[in-house]
């Protein structure tokens, strides 16, 4: 783990295109480690695209192109010869809808370890337990580790996906609207979890829920039409936004 004021992520003059569509326009920002950064903005503003830059998930979409510099722990992750599989081990991701594999609870968490060739049987079962504990799911599933992951509720499934991501010990966790498909109680549990995980991980979260952003994040970025309109401490963004667009959005005037 890096020291607190180290910039674990920096984006410099990022432009991103889906074929002809200019999805991200000259984005610049830096993120310290062990913090929670929220990205808000209307649908289609580019915030999810921006999030997916950092584990190169956008690579899976044909016809995308990036310009600018994208640094993770000081490494240009779009340089030639970067191993995306290794990058994705370091930069974990939790998706909008819980997407456990059609395997047992245990195997879901062990999967990342297995594909990365990490450890023997004993190591794996230990790591599965610690990951499930970190994701606040252990007590609920310890007696049914070998049952299908789909026997769990939606909220539990999402925490399982968080445990699955934690198992390979990433330093950064990308979360793309992780609670948008969940009920309020499950959402609250995920939020508590995010705040707790901040001690060990750098978390980037995209959310449509502005209360959520203000509750859990340290800094907030507001995106609109592919531009990062404003980026600053969450307190400042929500109490004294510098830009009128930001103010209009967070006060619910549009979006």
């Amino acid at each position: 783990m890096k020291s607190t004021n180290n910039k674990i992520i920096s984006a410099k003059h990022i432009n991103f295109f889906y074929k002809e569509f200019h999805a991200l326009k000259d984005i610049n920002l830096e993120i310290s480690s062990q913090s929670v950064t929220a990205f808000i903005g209307p649908s289609g503003c580019g915030k999810s695209t921006f999030l997916r830059l950092f584990n190169r998930m956008n690579d899976l979409i044909h016809g995308t192109r990036i310009e600018g510099l994208c640094l993770v722990e000081g490494e240009n992750i779009y340089a030639k010869g970067v191993d995306t599989d290794r990058l994705r081990k370091k930069v974990g991701m939790v998706f909008q809808k819980p997407n456990p594999f059609p395997k047992t609870i245990f195997e879901n968490v062990a999967y990342g370890l297995r594909v990365n060739g990490m450890g023997d049987k004993q190591f794996i079962s230990q790591r599965v337990e610690t990951s499930l504990r970190s994701a606040a799911l252990w007590e609920e599933v310890k007696d049914k580790l070998h049952k299908s992951a789909y026997a769990l509720s939606g909220g539990q499934q999402q925490r399982l996906c968080i445990a699955r991501a934690l198992a390979v010990e990433p330093s950064i966790l990308l979360m793309d609207e992780p609670a948008s498909a969940l009920d309020p109680i499950s959402t609250a549990r995920i939020e508590e979890l995010i705040v707790r995980l901040k001690q060990n991980y750098t978390i980037l979260i995209v959310t449509h829920n502005m209360q959520q952003a203000s509750r859990i994040s340290d800094q907030t970025g507001f995106f609109m039409m592919g531009e990062l309109v404003e980026f600053g401490s969450t307190k400042q963004i929500f109490t004294a936004p510098e830009r009128e667009q930001t103010y209009n959005y967070i006060s619910g005037h549009f979006g």
Binding site: L60, D85, L87, F95, N99, Y111, V115, Y150, C161
Partner: protein, 284 residues
Amino acid sequence: MNRKSKQTIAFGAFRLLSLAVMGILLWILGFIIYNGAGAMSIEFLTTSPKDNMTEGGIFPAIVGTFYLVVCSMAFAFPLGVMSAIYITEYASNATIVRIIRIMTNNLGGVPSIVFGLFGMSLFVNTFGFGDSILAGSLTLGLLILPLVIRTTEEALKAVPDAYRSGSLALGATKLQTVRRIVMPAAMPNIITGLILSIGRISGETAPILFTAAAYFLPQLPHSIFDQVMALPYHLYVLATSGTDIEASEGAAYGTALVLVGIVLLMNAFAGVIRRYFNNKMKTY
């Protein structure tokens, strides 16, 4: 006439027609069982034909069909599955994918007798395999390849993309994702495709006519370079070109019954495998 009675009449007609479809199938099955059951005996299933094929059994034809099915699937199944994986999971060039798809679809439209002719020219003559299990199986394999590719493709496409992105996001390679996530999830449907393929080739006559099938062989094949008797061809011979067609009628129906029975049995077996995978992968 009001909407309600229109609906009653329409669905009544649909029900009648679907029952008719079922009826036809049952009729064929009943017809074959009725005519073929008389020929059925342990001897019929375990001995070779004799007395110009009016007596004896069909054991060599059963074994021959079994060999042809197994060998052609051993060739077509891996090839077809791997092509389907390439097309759906790897190929990034849309034009190439489209060309491959058009090719396989057209391949599937080629009449089976043309496959027979092609197989004879390539495998029997050019490669010098002669009339043999090998030549026949390769021909059958080519015939069935489009179906295997198509059903595997559909099976792979039915696997949610969320599984793939979930796996890749954990640092798994594409190959690991295919092997550990996509293939197991697609397996029940791939097995169904396998069932369809086996059913189709065990009944094909034209492709083996010039490449593998023997009119009469008193003994079993020793290697894949031997000719074999096969059920569909044997049926054809008994019904059209035996020395005494009337006397071999019973054997012909018996052969038909065995052929249908084998296909149904294979389907049931594949169904068991499919259920096993489904239970293992249950997502309820």
